[in-house]
Amino acid sequence: MENRTFLQRFISKPEFGPLVLLVAELAVFWSINHDFLSVLNISNTLSFTVELGLIALGMTMLMTSGEFDLSVGSVFGFAPVIMWTFFNAGWASLEISFLIAMVLSAFIGWANGWFVTRVKISSFLVTLGMLLVVRGVGLYITDGFPQRTWSAGGHWLASALVGDFYIGSFRVYASLFWFVGIAIILGYVLTGTKVGNWIQAAGGNANSARARGVNVNRTKVALFMLTAVLSGFSGIISSIRTSSANPNSGTGYELEVIAMVVIGGTALTGGRGTIIGTVLGVFILRVMRNGIVLIGVPGLAYNIFIGAIILGMMTLHSVLERRHQAGT
């Protein structure tokens, strides 16, 4: 097995399928509409992509440890609402409001983790409850009205999160660097560190991990917190970019994020996860959303394609898995 060629090893990687799909997608959209790869379109797509992508990175870590989080979309809407409510009411400076929103997000993640690991309720039910609680609180605080965020213009924090600059005619948002940086860090943590080994073991066989002295519960709680913090962070980035913090934003994101993660090759049941795959998965879905509109398919048909991609990729993963087990 060690003598296999580089190409063979490359093809047997779990990230290979998603990579082929992404390239195919790009080729098809580009051949139908050359504007698809225009500088403006790429830069627009990237700015959207990053926001869901940040959540997907956290979700990848969490799903590798065998849990998932349905409340990410609610936290995505809730964190900016909190931040801007505090700031607009004049209760705190922008920095302090930002910190409060992050701490509250972390607390939501901790609560999810506490219910899952201590009370031993499945993460599906815990985070479904949390989805409603957090969304409800956001709506209640704001009476359902969006909070204005345009007063942030020029503030250093706003520039650090979503400030933009041009490389030639290519517009780059600062949020892209956050995404790339966090992806690299989490990718390293998952594959190259001791903690990464614990995360994979916790998702693969929690009992044997526990028997070897791995603190499975603490690992999972930390990952719930990471996911919630990234969701809140991404919500705040989005609120500044779109100049409004809407308590309803992020509705339905949880399923799209989970779809991105599994398309990339992370197992829904835990034990196996890949950050590179998730980055590919994020692009596959976002490029699909963007490309469909550009080539003239009605935007309402988007879900048909997403559903088909999920089914197709899962079939592929399952077939490859079985062939692998059979020893070929």
Binding site: V195, Q200, G204, R212
Partner: protein, 254 residues
């Protein structure tokens, strides 16, 4: 006189109203291999579970090297140097051989902050260990456990116990479902373990395997230890079988 490693005194275990262990007393000395025999339901598994921390005992005392200890979890047991290898060995099937071997005790290199796994060292040790437990095939240490055979998995679990220098290695039916060469590997490992100063409790249905390696045979019947100093060198397999089934009682009464 050999030094005492483990002593269990007056250990009882109830599952509800069912008594699975009744006043069990067992001593294992250092560098000693004890074969634990008994029919199905005799209490072997329960005894092992109590000693390995999988279930708590209802009453009784366990001492390691003369010091009384409480074993409430498998983690406690491992901390006391007691390692158990079950039939379906406790490995994470998605992880590689090397990652399983070092799970929970991964070597780290570089600055502590980066928490970086020393993968070269893990792979190197894994390769060495696999050869020692008798896997002659050249299996790369980054192969996931999921694609190994039952015997190979057993060998990985054994390799792990060897590497981390457990004082007492409990092997629960280690030769079940194993091929001939793999079984020989396991038996050879048990002999090596004694030579390097480890103790073993060896449980197997196959009495012949037990006779090949153990120093002393302990027999359980209905939750009690009915014989604890059978010498396999001076006793025949048939005599031991009679002790296991309890036939000698019938003979004595008749």
């Amino acid at each position: 006189m050999a030094t005492e490693l483990i002593r269990m005194e007056h250990v009882n275990k109830f599952y509800g109203r069912v008594q699975a262990l009744e006043d069990v007393n067992l001593v294992v000395n250092e560098s000693e291999i004890v074969g634990l025999l008994g029919d199905n339901g005799a209490g072997k598994s329960t005894l092992i579970k109590v000693l390995s921390g999988a279930v708590p005992s209802s009453s009784g005392k366990i001492s390691v090297r003369g010091k009384e200890v409480t074993i409430r979890s498998t983690t406690d047991a491992i901390a006391q140097g007691i390692e158990t290898i079950y039939q379906d060995s406790a490995l994470v099937t998605q992880l590689s051989i090397a990652r399983n071997l070092f799970l929970g005790r991964e070597p780290v290199k570089g600055p502590k902050f980066f928490n970086r796994l020393d993968q070269e060292k893990m792979n190197e040790v894994a390769r060495e260990l696999l050869a020692r437990v008798g896997i002659s095939k050249n299996i790369p240490p980054n192969t996931p456990i999921g694609s190994l055979s039952g015997g190979e998995r057993q060998a990985v679990a054994i390799a792990r116990a060897m590497h981390f220098d457990s004082d007492l290695i409990i092997l629960d039916e280690p030769t079940n479902n194993l091929g001939v060469a793999e079984t020989q590997g396991v038996l050879r490992f048990v002999r090596n373990a004694r030579d390097s100063g480890h103790s073993c409790i060896f449980i197997a249905h196959n009495i012949h395997h037990v006779f090949q390696v153990v120093d002393r045979i302990v027999v359980m019947r209905r939750g009690r230890i009915v014989a604890d100093d059978i010498n396999p060198k001076t006793t025949s397999v048939e005599e031991v079988e009679r002790v296991i089934t309890g036939e000698e009682l019938v003979v004595a009464r008749g």
